[in-house]
Symmetry: C2
Amino acid sequence: MSITHPAGFAAAGAAVGIKVNGGKDLALVASTGPRFDSASVFTSNRCKANPVLWSEQVVKDGVVRAVVLNSGGANCYTGPEGFLTTHQVAEEVAGLLGIGAGDVVVCSTGLIGLANDRDVLLKGVHTVHAALSRDGGADAAEAIMTTDSVSKQVVVEAPDGAGWSIGGMAKGAGMLAPALATMLVVITTDAIVDAADLDAALRASTRVSFDRLDSDGCQSTNDTVTVLASGASGVRPDLETFTAALTQACTSLAKQLLADAEGADHEIAITVCGAASEDDAVEVGRSVARSNLFKAAVFGKDPNWGRVLASVGTTGAAFDPADLDVAMNGVWVCRNSTPAEDPALVDLSPRDVTVTIDLKSGPAQATVWTNDLTHAYVHENSAYSS
Amino acid sequence: MSITHPAGFAAAGAAVGIKVNGGKDLALVASTGPRFDSASVFTSNRCKANPVLWSEQVVKDGVVRAVVLNSGGANCYTGPEGFLTTHQVAEEVAGLLGIGAGDVVVCSTGLIGLANDRDVLLKGVHTVHAALSRDGGADAAEAIMTTDSVSKQVVVEAPDGAGWSIGGMAKGAGMLAPALATMLVVITTDAIVDAADLDAALRASTRVSFDRLDSDGCQSTNDTVTVLASGASGVRPDLETFTAALTQACTSLAKQLLADAEGADHEIAITVCGAASEDDAVEVGRSVARSNLFKAAVFGKDPNWGRVLASVGTTGAAFDPADLDVAMNGVWVCRNSTPAEDPALVDLSPRDVTVTIDLKSGPAQATVWTNDLTHAYVHENSAYSS
């Protein structure tokens, strides 16, 4: 399923001894073509992990034939030795598949500052290569999990039975923030899409999906989203249709990440409307998504709209501070920056929460997704490496 | 003590019925001159509370003769009626003191979106006016507390027995962030300092004290720091000496706020050295101070330096991502962006934690203070208004 749903891909996931708990920890996705167009986006964090430094070079020519991903260690801040590990893993994969190492994207996730055992990884590459199959998508999705409680997969079929599809898998459960976070995503399609178009479609899709996710404001060092197009369906969709389907796949995966965020009790959709520009709307939404006070209030089922406006006020967006409206779960608790409907009408028991902020300054809008700040979040993140 | 330590000031604090728990909730500080020089800084949040909107006008001419402060309600997002309440409180204080309302700074703190009972406040003004005394500083400091567990006060004597002093009081226990937070500070001095010099001294002092405090990244709507100079000592110190003493007072109050931050287990001083500029150092320090993942790790006594570097990487400061050093409590756990001394040597049991980040890019440095992210923080802030 998922990444092996489109034609032209094989995948595998196995336990090769990287994770101390014995779980699946190495995944391999290989394209069998006939085309090998690709596009990728990476973390905008300047402190990038070794696999990101490697893969940024690999993807430059728009050709990727395989992606190898390990959990159990991020290979970040591990120096030149860590980079050599990444390089050798790519060479090993390339050797077994009979391709060039320069066409192999490498992804790692897990603890920062921890060197992966190179021999274990290299030996593991043989294991997953031997296991490659046309239905290995689910195993691969499982092998990239860290603190994830469930694997994240998606399949989107072409509209009108056009004969192509998109598959995807993702991992990520924390450190989710704008411009991606500890998030590894591989997307496959058997549509024919040239690399340049694939790049345009991917950037358009991530801009309104993964980039609108801000679980805890922390930006990872390892984020990678790679899309591979095998062309195996023989069908070339128009770019608009393909971009819409890709956006649907990315949004589904983003929402699966949100739903599995570490320790969260609520999924919060912050919609900012009446904005002078989409950038303004996103800036305001993110400022609220990053307010610990607001997020703790949602955990406490407290419709504290004052904390929403206090966050809005820290932004540079166009608005009149004396003329803002705020709704929580559809109840307009604040009109014209003064108390309006009774906050007691807001029921914050359900897991899904909506916040709507009307800036009354223009026609643009955007939605940013976040989680609440809970005891479980503090617990999980105070004990991650110990 | 504190604000009534310098000559030329009377103060009072009393329970007048604003707080539902019956605690002290109204404070008055009056200068008896002979001079009434003043300077103030306010929150940079664009959503400002009514008392801030009022007081910003009051302080423009550099003359302030009284400050009236209430806890139990922030008078923020309460509309024109809320502004009228602030205005009438200033008029009432002015009438009783025989001064103009345009020389009365008003401060409020408490829940946002809650209208204060105007009649209770106006009646309360009479109570605190009747209680004004030369030793009312401690009562005033107590009356401005909200979730504070202790009152914050400071006295700094002039060096070399020069015959003048500085007193100060502050409230604040959460929503502490750059450019001030739910923080009310009144500082008094009997030195002779012209309003323009006082302004320069105050801005220099807050820049390296309150502005370097980032408890939870949330910026308040009500922050006010006002300094009043009565000139009653008859001594005119040179500006450098006065600024140093004022900085000492502000730093003491800032550290008292930090020590009393809601639910914190640790006080964390993040020093960034080797920076190309002080702005770079502050930007890097703040990025780490705002990382929930790093703060939760400190709570868990986990010296997770990877989360430090992941935050550094989100900044625009000058540095080489492959050449960063990080120490925690003096142990250099990371050198040249790779693991160095054993993190097990870092004992995070004590309340005070130091993090040192060497950017190796210049001579500048700065320290930013924050707290850890704890279960108690989540608890207190999930139940504040309910």
